[in-house]
Amino acid sequence: MQELIKRAKELLADGTVVRVLGWKAGDLPYNPEPAYFAKDTDFADFVYNGFCGANLSKYMIEASKMEGKTLVFLKPCDTYSFNQLLKEHRVEREKAYIIGVGCKGKLDIEKIKALGIKGIQSISGAELTDEAETLTVQTLYGEKTCAYKDAMLERCHVCKGKEHKIYDELLLTSRDTTDADRFAEVARIEGLSPEEKFAFFQKELGKCIRCNACRNVCPACSCRKCVFDSNKFDSSQKANADSFEEKMFHIIRAFHVAGRCTDCGECSRVCPQGIPLHLFNRKFIKDIDEFYGEYQAGEDVDADAPLTSFTFEDVEPSVVSTRS
C-alpha cells in the first residue's frame, strides 16, 4: 500500500497526473470506497487491501472528461473493463495513467459474517503484502480468525488470471486464486427442470428491490441514460410492481451487456440482497463461448464483439430446445 502512495505522490509531484483515483478507508474496516486524491494530505485515508473490490474503471468515464491525466489503480480484472470502455470510446487512453496493481483475491464481508464473525472492529491480514493465509478479526467478542480463501469473493475463485491487459506500469505482485470452474453453477442450473429453474430464479429475483446498485456499479452498464429510465420503450419503472418486472429488468440488463460484460462480478458484489446476478451474465458468456467461439470481453480492443458480428453457419435459435 505504501508503494502505491509513494508512486502516486511522485507522479502528482512531477506533473504526470493531476489527480489519483484510488480507494479510501470507509466508516467500517471493510468498506473502502473509490475516491480522488489530489494533495499529499489526501493520502491519509488511502487504502489498498482485500476489501478494495471496487472496479475503478467505470469512474474513468467521468475522469476522461476532466482536465489533465488521472492516475488510476486497476486490478488485473479491472483492466478488462477499462479495455472494453476504451473499445466503446467511453474513456480516453491519453487521460489515464494506469498503474496495474497486484491482487491476491478480494474479500467478501458477507462470507466473513456468514462464518459467524460478528461485531467486527478491525481486520488484519487483508493487505496484499501480507503473506498470511488467514485473516485475524478483532471483534466485540474477542479475536477470531478465518482462512483468507474462505472469505474470498466468488469471482476471485474463478479469476480470469492475474495478468493486466493494459497498464503504464505495474506495482505489487499477484497471487493466483483460481480454484473453481467459472461455469459450474450456470451448468448446474441448466441441468435443472424448467420448474426448478423457474423456482430458483423466482426466489432469487423475488429479493430484488430495484435499487439499481447492480446497474450503477456495472462498467458495461454505463449508458448516459438507461432504457429503464427513459420513455423510449415505455419501460421506465418506478416501483417493483409485479413479479415480471424484475425478470424483464435483469434479462434486458444482461442482454444489453452480453458480449460486453467482462464478468468482473461487481453486480453480485454490490447487490444488497445478495442476488447472484453474475449468473445471468455468465449464462450469456457461456452461450457465446459455446455457440460462437470463446470470447472474453475486454481482452482485445480490436476483436469483433459477438453480437455485432456473425458467421453464415451460426447455430439456429432452435438449438435451445435441441441442446441436451
Binding site: K87, K232, H256
Partner: protein
C-alpha cells in the same frame, strides 16, 4: 392525441364474406382517438379514395387507418390519396384484414374479432406516427469506373453513350486489362486484340470519357449521388501532352532486364515502356525501380533521344479530387500463385506453365512470337498435357473453394488451337468435370474432342515430375477406365484458379462495400440485384463480383452501366424517410450501431450538446439518411435506446404489441 379515421374495406366479398365489416366499424368507432369510421365496397377505388379525402377535410383527420388488403398491395395508393388531401402520407397505416384474416379464417365471429384487434394495433401505431418527409440529395452527373479492363471499358462506354461524364481509373500504364493478354477468345476464336482494341480506342476517343491510367483511387468520402474521390496519378516521368508515342525511348533504353508484366514475366522489357503495342494511352512510363537514372543517378538516354522533350524525371505523384454520383467497381482478377502446388513442379520446370502464360506464348506479340515452344530449350513439344482445376474447388487453404468457371472453356480452346496449328502434337486434358454451360459452349468442347482429337481423361493429375531426359512425367489415373497412367509430356499447362484482384479489399474498405471470404464483392441481392453493391451508388462489373467469362462480363458491365445511368438520370434522390436516427442526449458514442450497419451509414462526430443545462462535447452517432435503408439493426444493437427507426419506432411497435396482447 391524433384524430383518427378508420376505413374498412369490403373488398367485394373478399373481406366482407368472412369479416362482419359493419360490426368492425361499430366497435372501432368506440376506440379512443377514433373520430371517424366507415366501411365501403372497394376502398382502393376512386370513390373509396375520395371518401378518405372527404373525411380528412370534414373531420380534420390527422391519422388514417385503412383495414383492407396487404400494405404490400395498396399502402402506396392510400398514402398518395392522403397526400392529395393534404395529409402527410406517412400518417396512414394499414390493417391487413384480407391476406392475414378474411382469407385464412372461416368462422365469421372469429375473423371479425381478429380484424378488430388488427385494426386496434394499427390505431395504436398511428397514434404515435409522426409526419415524415423524404430527404433529398443531389446527384453529381459523373461516374467513376475503377478498373480499365473489358468490364470497366464497356461500362464506361455505355454510361458515356447515355450522355454522362465518366472517368476510368486504371492502375497499370494502359487500359485493356486481362483481355488484352489473351490470344483468342472462345467460343468463336476471334482474336482478342481485334475485338478489344476498337473498344479501347473508342473509350479513349469518347468526349465524355476521361482515362486516368497509372493511377489509383486513394480516398472515397460521401455517399450515393455525391461521392468525393481522391485519385492518385502516379508519376509517369513522361509528359502525357508532349509525348508522341514514337517509341524511340524504349528502343534506346539501356536497361532491358525488367520482367514484362504483360508477358507474365516470360520476357523482359525496358525500364521505360508501354506494356504492349496497342496500349492506350500510347505514352510510356518509367519504371523507376529498373531505371538507371533513378537507381544510379546517371543515364538519361531517353531524355536525350526524345525529340518531343517529353521525359520529365522530376515528375511527382499528383492527387486529383473529383466528385461522382455513381461508382462502378471493375477491378477484375488475377491467377492464384502456385507456390504451394509443388506436386505440379510449376516452380521447378520452365515447361510447366499456367494457361495465361500459354496465352502469351500463343500470341504473335508474345515472348516466342507465337511459336509453341518449350521455354526451357525452345524445342517444339510433341506431347502436351493440360491439368484442370488447379487450385479451384479446393477444400484446403492452398486453393479456392469455388469453380473458376472459365478454365474448361479456355482449355478446350487451347487444345483445339494447338491441334489445329500443330496436328502432330498430342494433347491430353485431365479433367474432374467438364463444365460448359453457355451458348455454343458444349458444342465447342465436343468439337475439340470429335473434330480435333483432343484426348480427355477423367482424373486429376497427382504429380508432375521433371525427368533427366528433360521431359515431364505426368502421373494420373483414368477413373473411367480404372487404370493408372504414367506418361511423358513436353509441356504441362495448369488451369490455375482465378482470384479477385488483391487490391479489391482496399477498395471495398474505402467504399464500405462488403466483400466475401473469397474477396469477391458482395452483391445487394444474390438473385435480384446482382450488379449492385449493398452500398447505395456502388455497382459491380465483371469478375470482381464472381468468376465470369468475357460475354458474361460484358453483359454485366452493361447491366451495371444501366443501373448507374438510372441513378445519374435523376437530379435529386428522394431518400427513404423511414431511417434510423440517434437521440443525441441518449447516445453513448460507443460505435456498437456502426458495427452492425450494412451500409456504413453511421459515422461519429464530436459535438457540443446541452443536456439539461450541462454543456459538454460528446462523441455522437450521426446517421446519413441518404445511405440508411432503414433495416433497424442499429436500433437493437444500441444499448441505451438512443437509436430509433422512424416509421417503426420502439414505441410504435410496443403499442402494436400491447394492442394485440390486450
Amino acid at each position: 392525441m391524433q384524430r383518427i379515421g378508420v376505413f374498412v374495406c369490403h373488398c367485394g366479398s373478399n373481406i366482407a364474406a368472412t369479416v362482419d365489416v359493419e360490426k368492425v366499424v361499430e366497435i372501432i368507432r368506440q376506440e379512443p382517438g377514433v373520430v371517424h369510421a366507415e366501411d365501403y365496397q372497394y376502398m382502393c377505388s376512386e370513390v373509396g379514395q375520395a371518401k378518405i379525402a372527404d373525411a380528412i377535410h370534414e373531420k380534420g383527420l390527422t391519422g388514417i387507418v385503412v383495414c383492407s388488403c396487404s400494405p404490400r398491395m395498396h399502402e402506396t395508393t392510400f398514402r398518395k390519396a392522403a397526400e392529395r388531401a393534404g395529409l402527410n402520407p406517412y400518417m396512414v397505416e394499414i390493417a391487413n384484414i384480407r391476406e392475414h384474416c378474411s382469407w385464412i379464417h372461416k368462422d365469421v365471429e372469429e375473423a371479425t374479432k381478429k380484424a378488430v384487434i388488427l385494426a386496434r394495433a394499427a390505431i395504436a401505431k398511428v397514434n404515435l406516427n409522426a409526419p415524415l418527409k423524404p430527404g433529398e440529395s443531389r446527384v453529381t452527373k459523373r461516374a467513376l469506373i475503377i478498373g480499365g479492363g473489358i468490364a470497366g471499358i464497356q461500362t464506361a462506354l455505355d454510361i458515356a453513350d447515355a450522355g454522362y461524364e465518366v472517368d476510368i481509373v486504371e492502375k497499370t500504364p494502359s487500359i485493356g486489362g486481362r483481355m488484352s493478354q489473351l490470344d483468342k477468345t472462345f467460343p468463336t476464336l476471334d482474336c482478342s486484340a481485334c475485338i478489344l482494341t476498337p473498344k479501347m480506342v473508342e473509350a479513349s476517343a469518347h468526349e465524355k470519357i476521361t482515362i486516368y491510367t497509372y493511377s489509383e483511387v486513394e480516398k472515397v468520402t460521401g455517399f450515393v449521388g455525391d461521392f468525393t474521390v481522391d485519385i492518385r496519378k502516379k508519376a509517369r516521368s513522361v509528359d502525357m501532352d508532349k509525348c508522341t508515342g514514337c517509341g524511340v525511348c524504349q528502343e534506346k533504353c539501356p536497361s532491358k532486364k525488367a520482367p514484362s508484366e504483360f508477358n507474365r514475366g516470360l520476357s523482359n522489357r525496358s525500364a521505360i515502356y508501354t506494356p504492349f503495342a496497342q496500349a492506350i494511352p500510347n505514352v510510356p512510363v518509367i519504371d523507376r525501380e529498373h531505371c538507371l537514372k533513378f537507381q544510379k543517378g546517371k543515364c538519361g538516354v531517353c531524355a536525350k533521344v526524345c525529340q518531343a522533350g517529353a521525359i520529365d524525371y522530376e515528375q511527382k505523384d499528383e492527387i486529383v479530387t473529383e466528385k461522382y454520383g455513381a461508382i462502378v467497381v471493375a477491378t477484375g482478377f488475377d491467377v492464384i500463385k502456385l507456390d504451394n502446388y509443388d506436386e505440379y513442379a510449376y516452380s521447378q520446370s520452365k515447361d510447366v506453365i499456367t494457361s495465361l502464360e500459354l496465352e502469351r506464348i500463343m500470341n504473335a506479340a508474345g515472348p516466342t512470337k507465337g511459336h509453341l515452344e518449350r521455354l526451357s530449350d525452345g524445342k517444339a513439344p510433341r506431347e502436351m498435357v493440360f491439368i484442370q482445376c488447379v487450385g479451384s474447388r479446393c477444400a484446403d487453404d492452398r486453393g479456392k473453394s469455388y469453380c473458376s468457371k472459365i478454365c474448361c472453356m479456355y482449355t478446350a480452346k487451347h487444345a483445339m488451337l494447338i491441334r489445329d496449328k500443330y496436328p502432330d502434337v498430342n494433347v491430353t486434358v485431365f479433367y474432374i468435370d467438364v463444365r460448359t454451360p453457355g451458348k455454343n459452349f458444349d458444342e465447342f468442347y465436343r468439337r475439340a474432342v470429335e473434330d480435333f482429337g483432343v484426348n480427355y481423361i477423367k482424373g486429376q493429375v497427382g504429380k508432375v515430375a521433371p525427368q533427366p531426359n528433360g521431359r515431364l512425367l505426368v502421373q494420373a489415373s483414368d477413373l473411367l477406365d480404372n487404370r493408372q497412367i504414367k506418361m511423358e509430356a513436353d509441356m504441362v499447362v495448369l488451369a490455375a484458379a482465378i482470384e479477385p484482384n488483391p487490391d479489391v479489399r482496399k477498395i471495398a474498405t474505402m467504399l464500405t462495400a462488403s466483400i466475401d471470404t473469397n474477396n469477391f464483392l458482395t452483391e445487394a441481392h444474390a438473385k435480384l440485384r446482382p450488379v449492385e453493391s449493398p452500398t447505395a451508388g456502388v455497382f459491380l462489373s465483371g469478375v470482381c463480383q464472381g468468376p465470369k467469362d468475357i460475354p458474361e462480363t460484358v453483359a454485366q458491365a452493361g447491366a451495371a452501366a444501366v443501373k448507374a445511368i438510372g441513378l445519374l438520370a435523376k437530379d435529386k434522390l428522394l431518400t427513404n424517410p423511414c431511417t434510423a436516427h440517434s437521440d443525441e442526449l441518449l447516445c453513448n458514442g460507443c460505435s456498437t450501431c456502426a458495427n452492425v450497419c450494412p451500409y456504413g451509414a453511421i459515422t461519429y462526430e464530436v459535438r457540443q450538446v446541452n443536456d439539461h443545462g450541462i454543456r459538454e462535447d460528446r462523441r455522437l452517432a450521426v446517421v446519413n439518411e441518404a445511405l440508411c435503408q432503414g433495416c433497424g439493426a442499429c436500433t437493437v444493437a444500441c444499448p441505451s435506446g438512443a437509436m430509433d427507426l422512424k416509421g417503426f419506432s420502439n414505441r410504435q411497435i410496443l403499442a402494436e404489441v400491447d394492442a394485440i396482447c390486450q
